[in-house]
């Protein structure tokens, strides 16, 4: 009975440990090669002496690594991720804003990709070996193989005249009403979301197809067929319901690559989100921002994985929670 509770506790522990590892690794990554970090300081463009001093203080390179680590953890516990070199604002504030811009755009694309991908994969599996299946698989594979940044450029090239070519809002819209603002944001969101959706779609369609094929070979599908149920009912109530277990796991695992795509897509469309924050942090060598953004992304992915684990536990009646 309490196997379920045990599992939840274990998953929670793993998630917390993973986040702790991410935090520690984040600390180490920026310090383990102090020589490089110091030499890189000189490459910060337009850096004043004061800024370089601040930076040295930021990294606390004169103190021992243990002391630095404790200080780092203490600051982190207070939500302090340092200050951005680029605009002098606290990193946490910058990232909060960026995350708020990223989430709706990514969510829209991902949800569309999941729905379309599952539908396509199911159709392919049900029609396995037919021309439909072949066409769907080939197109899923092709879409999967196209680099996200390239798809973004192509869409900008083809539809740049129709849709805005970048940014999140129209800067020339003076004092828009909330409604106008929403429409404006959605309008700007269309292309980046579409690219997020397209690049994920192929992957989801392919993995759904495989999961469905595995399920369709199970005995209970034969039982369902012997019961005279319609193909639609067999597929929906018997096959898909079981296939959703592996599918949900695989989708959760793909979140890491979603985040990777976001960096590229936001860069192409100048979407002021967390992915673009990483890009600008890299180009302007804004280390506190880079460090903060990486940490936030890792935590977001770990948390999403954790949530999907919990959903999995709910989906599978063999595990009672």
């Amino acid at each position: 009975m309490n196997r379920g509770l045990d599992l939840v506790l274990r998953r929670t522990a793993v998630a917390l440990i993973t986040i702790f590892c991410a935090i520690s690794l984040n600390f180490l990554l920026f310090r383990v090669v102090p020589g490089d970090a110091v030499s890189n300081l000189a490459r910060v463009p337009n850096s004043t002496v004061a800024q370089q001093q601040a930076l040295r203080h930021e990294f606390g390179l004169d103190r021992s690594i243990g002391v630095q680590y404790v200080a780092y953890l203490r600051e982190l516990a207070h939500g302090n991720l340092g200050r951005s070199f680029a605009n002098g604002q606290p990193v946490s504030k910058n990232l909060g804003e960026a995350l708020g811009n990223t989430l709706p755009m990514v969510l829209l694309g991902t949800v569309v990709a999941i729905l379309a991908g599952i539908a396509t994969g199911v159709l392919g599996a049900v029609r396995r070996g037919t021309r439909t299946d072949r066409a769907l698989t080939v197109s899923s594979l092709t879409v999967y193989a196209l680099p996200a940044q390239w798809v973004g450029l192509l869409l900008l090239f083809l539809l740049g005249g129709v849709f805005p070519s970048g940014g999140r809002v129209d800067e020339f819209l003076i004092e828009p009403s909330p409604w106008q603002h929403t429409v404006d944001v959605l309008w700007h969101m269309t292309l980046p979301s579409l690219v997020v959706g397209l690049t994920l779609f192929g992957q989801y369609a392919l993995l759904t197809r495989t999961a469905m094929l595995e399920t369709l070979a199970e005995d209970y599908v034969l039982t369902a067929r012997a019961k005279g149920l319609s193909t639609l009912r067999i597929v929906r109530h018997h096959a898909l319901r079981n296939a959703m277990l592996p599918i949900s796991t695989l989708i959760a695992l793909s979140l890491g690559s979603v985040v990777g795509g976001v960096v590229l897509i936001e860069t192409v469309f100048s979407w002021p989100g967390i992915g673009r924050a990483i890009y600008s942090a890299v180009t302007s060598r804004d280390y506190p921002m880079l460090q903060g953004a990486f940490l936030v992304l890792t935590v977001v992915v770990v948390v999403c994985n954790y949530v999907s684990d919990l959903i999995y536990l709910r989906l599978d009646p063999r595990i009672t929670v």
Partner: protein, 321 residues
């Protein structure tokens, strides 16, 4: 009604094999099932018993092709495909599969799986359907509250009972039972057989039992068809098959079956059945037959009457005691 419910004539099943070498899995099988009949299909695994049943019920997959005739109440169903079979499925012909664990969908409750095949005259509410499912469970010796259980929460014997209850939901006239007691311990096996026996009596069900176990067959059925390499090699009353088997295979199969209290050595049949992806010349059993003669490799013996209601396909029938 005294006409047969089910008439199977010259049923053949092929499976697509690699390189166009199709496997001829069922070769010219014919049998009738009348109301209240107790027929058994007996043979080693791979002899085509299960394939025969799947062919009769129209449950074969896309890699199979068939020929012959299957009639339900005189209506041809084999050549008409799924549409022709649909009205009889589960309503007249239902089946209990082997391995009760996988025959039930692991993520749905037992009750919902029974309820989904209940005949829906007018608007039967979900609640009423579940109540009816509970009644069916009681009929097979389970508690009605088991409707809310998932398959993994039941023991192997209980799952098999639930499968039987599900098979009864469509009020069938012929119940196929494919190795219904495999993987159950002896006591539970006896209970399941007893249950099938009682249900057949109470409901006037005809039963077609598929089994490799001659002992089991004798307890439940009054007529049996012994299959070897996709062909019926002997057919007759179970009593007659025991006391006077006319085909060497039946005799050896009987000698290979342990019977409690029987004072005879247990023997196994040497060798293995022939490959079915090449044309067979002569008797399929001759390679393993202790009595094989030259003529056995020349022509395939046909089923010929050897006693009242008893036929065998062996060139040496006259000599076999």
């Amino acid at each position: 009604m005294n006409g047969p419910v089910l008439e199977v004539r010259d049923l053949n099943v092929w499976f697509d094999g690699p390189g166009g070498r199709d496997v001829h899995a069922v070769r010219g099988v014919s049998f009738d099932v009348r109301p209240g009949d107790r027929l058994a299909l007996v043979g080693e695994s791979g002899c085509g018993k299960t394939t025969t049943v799947l062919g009769v019920l129209g449950l074969l997959g896309a890699t199979a092709s068939v020929s012959g005739s299957v009639r339900v109440d005189g209506q041809e169903v084999l050549t008409g495909g799924d549409a022709a079979m649909a009205p009889y499925r589960w309503g007249d012909l239902s089946i209990v599969f082997q391995g009760a664990l996988n025959a039930l969908n692991p993520v749905r409750t037992v009750g919902s799986q029974i309820a989904e095949v209940l005949p829906r005259d007018g608007r039967v509410s979900r609640r009423a359907a579940l109540r009816r499912a509970g009644e069916l469970l009681e009929r097979v010796g389970m508690a009605a509250r088991n409707v809310a259980f998932y398959p993994h929460e039941l023991s192997g014997g209980m799952r098999q009972r639930a499968c039987i209850a599900m098979a009864l939901a469509g009020e069938p006239r012929v119940l196929f039972a494919d190795e219904p007691t495999t993987a159950l311990d002896v006591v539970v096996q006896a209970q399941i057989l007893e249950l099938l026996d009682r249900l057949a009596d109470e409901l006037g069900l005809a039963i077609v039992l598929i089994s490799h176990d001659l002992g089991l067959v004798g307890q439940l059925c009054d007529r049996a068809m012994v299959m070897y390499a996709g062909r019926a090699v002997e057919e007759g009353p179970t009593e007659g098959l025991y006391t006077a088997p006319r085909h060497p295979y039946t005799r050896l199969l009987y000698e290979a079956t342990p019977v409690l209290g029987a004072d005879r050595p247990l023997r196994s049949i040497g060798g293995s059945p022939p490959a079915l992806d090449v044309p067979l010349a002569g008797c399929a059993f001759r390679g393993r037959c202790p009595d094989a003669e030259d003529r056995c490799s020349l022509a395939e013996p046909a089923l010929t009457p050897v006693a009242p209601a008893h036929r065998a396909a062996c060139h040496l029938t006259g000599r076999t005691p």
